[in-house]
Amino acid sequence: MNSINQSGWRPTTPEAGEGSTSTFTGNRALMLEEALIFEIGSTSTTGVEVAEPAKVGSRLGGLARTVPIGLPGLSEPEAVRHYTRLSRQNYAIDLGLFPLGSCTMKHNPRLNEKMARLPGFADVHPLQPVDTVQGAFEVIHQLAHWLVTLTGMHSVAMSPKAGAHGELCGILAIKAALEAKGEGHRKVILVPESAHGTNPATAAFAGYSVEDIPATADGRVDVAALKARLGPDVAGVMITNPNTCGLFEREMRTISDAVHAVGGYVYCDGANFNAIVGRVRPGDLGVDAMHINLHKTFSTPHGGGGPGAGPVVFSEALTPFAPLPFVEKQGDHFALVEEETAGEHHGKSFGRMVAFNGQMGMFTRALTYILSHGADGLRQVAEDSVLNANYVLRSLEDTLDAPFAASGPCMHEAIFSDEGLPEGFSTIDIAKGLIDEGYHPMTMYFPLVVHGAMLVEPTETESKAALDQFIGALRSVAERAKAGDESLRSAPHFAPRRRLDETLAARKPVLVWKDPELAQAAE
């Protein structure tokens, strides 16, 4: 590992046809290739200076490390360049419209980042004496107040780490509530076919068997089928509203009433809350529990796959079962209710889901976002996100099949399908064609109820000009597909990589870097 690029690997330049010029480095001007840290770093290099250790004896219990770890280091300039080069191979909201349905890729305000980094928030230990962290508790309390008020619910559990973790929180509260009523024998959770994969995975994790509820032809829950399936074995339903077909479940209240009538509970997947924030309160629709993805509706950054935060709002019926710990205002003082103090007035809690207090760094960002918008701005968020999606839907329904175009206005995402594309062309070709146009593709092949689904969520932080350009690009790609343009099937052509061999990756998994010389010697 001590010489540069010991593996001898060099990025190869594709022969891109006549007139193309290969380069010595494999780079193409601003498109820069970058080797792995294991190929460019060295175990003896460091970019950090550490004070000399005090001269004392070792007390490691005879377990001092004797074998090398194999961790390459880089000096600071090399490290900054390595990661800056890598960053430039990513698409991001900061670069352009990110129409990823059900993911709400909106602008991430930088004030949020600045506030989260105030030492009073960023440099505070979760186990500090409570008198030294009253401001942190106040942030949690203020955010909780907003979330409860915006959703019209009774309480909120702040500790879940992400949406799926929030789903689990909600389902565990439902299970605890049923057990408290002596109804622990209920074993079925009903989930619409159009649900996110996390819904059935969560229900199964909590020991439930999952049954699908069919959708009607107009893209909504088949209420008659749902009612027919309800009974004494049903613990609850998990419904996404607005749903993943981009539609509002008009009969949500009817569904909730029917589920409650047979003794079950209603879980709402709040992934699409952005469409209704400030305009509609799920609490008015009979929801018992709903997670809120702070990294969607409330703009905390997705960070290339996380971290998220998934607070869960509860109805009055489920509140006693909410997890620990939580912050409670007692007079002028904020207290943390943990296992120790829960017994007195929160003895039914289903327990703890995480170490410490939840995603504080996300709470400060989300509260900053909420205060910036206020009640009026958040309502405008919902309206503009819905307006933008409908604008995309109506601007493209003549070109792309829009299966639910007649089902009414869409909410904050518009759905298209691959219906009408010539044989051999599918959604993936449209998606990869969009990459060459400078866009991240929309959500593909989800929800499962639409063949070759393309789910487009522009969000409210796009201007009309940005939407018009995107519409033009998507129209152009769709028309090329319809015309049988073969070049689409090998798109993208201009990205840092062409289509990658996912089958190879799964068949012969290479999950860590191995020194090629050592690997060869081992064989």
Binding site: G120, H125, G197, G304, A309, E383
Partner: protein
Amino acid sequence: MRYLPLTQSDREAMLATIGAKTIDDLFVDVPAVAQLDGPIRDLPMHASELAVERHMTALARKNLAAGEAPFFLGCGAYRHHVPASVDHLIQRGEFLTAYTPYQPEIAQGTLQMLFEFQTQVARLLGTDVANASMYDGSTACWEAIGMARRITKRGKAILSGGLHPHYVSVAKTMAKYTGDHLETSLPALSAETDIDSLIAAIDDNTSCVVVQYPDILGRIADLRPLADAAHARKALLIAVVTEPVALGALKSPGEMDADIVVGEGQSIGVGLQFGGPYVGLMGCKEKYIRQMPGRFCGETVDAEGKRGFVLTLSTREQHIRREKATSNICTNSGLCALAFSIHMTLLGEAGLRALAATNHAGAVAAAERLAKVPGVELVNDSFFNEFTLKLPKEARPVVRTLADQGILAGVSLGRLYPDATGLANGLVVAVTETTTLEDVETLASALEEALA
């Protein structure tokens, strides 16, 4: 509203294109009873950047930041110096505002970083492979127990008394619903760990033994005999590391034949942040990868034969397998994994080992100094950068008294184990490279005064 680019005339033009008269026409599917007629009352309206900054800064000032006080807290979250370039790099918009890399052609930056992260983590933990991160150490620990159940098809997990009590709590919560049987115990305020009793408890129904290294009191035990005993009964050894810097000085759990190693990666690159977001580390032996939860990044080639990276083995995951997935986890802790990886790259092996040496030496010096305070005993024989003191009285009020004097003295075991009277005099003290000699002296004299 500064984050909303549409103008009123844009909105009107767009409504015309859509064929709607007003925005209300687009919400026609929402039942009237659920429609709010205007902004929610009793909540503030929008505010300027300056106004919000004032509000948030006032809240932040109500906290005592670790950097403003002599600071000795650990127990699962550690204060280390994070190089300035780490925070700069993770704020590059192409990392910060990217999505999960499901479109690999335009996500090679995140993917290559994850591949590097997985390799760094696997090498540090001493495992064959590692995944692309979990939410945090506590949830990774629970997921490992579930994984052991799937591998061994047994339901009894034995948790060491030295395992962080929050991790135990999380596992207990989940086990109620999955039917796992957990054997748990409290730690003893002594130099001895519970390795021997764990070995004695392993039987043919045991799926796994879960042991923290170093443990909640900072003690270090050789895991090899435990691994051998577990394997003799076809059970797995799960090792939990809450302070990864320790592995710069100590043998890795993988080296001692642990089957699954999980950890809290917060120490490296992430910062305290009042408990989150953090980054769960998870590695295992290669033969178990198909039972791992979470995302994996793998190497492959593109259509032109260039090396590239993709998310792989996703047939384990919820978006493909739905109710048959190994876990419901979707979002992970990508940006914290990036911070971990950058910090680790800046350290390199040489830097990590130097950092670990400085932490350990500082802790040894501090332990010796604090043990000289009248009435105070050092519980540990062995430790890395965290050790437990036994005070002559309950530690919890002492910690509060010292906090009133602006000293964050450590974590009292009374805070972590409120019902265990036998632990009430315990104080866990962490010392890192950020701790100065003056800090230690300040703590020693304040402790002397408080105990007098």
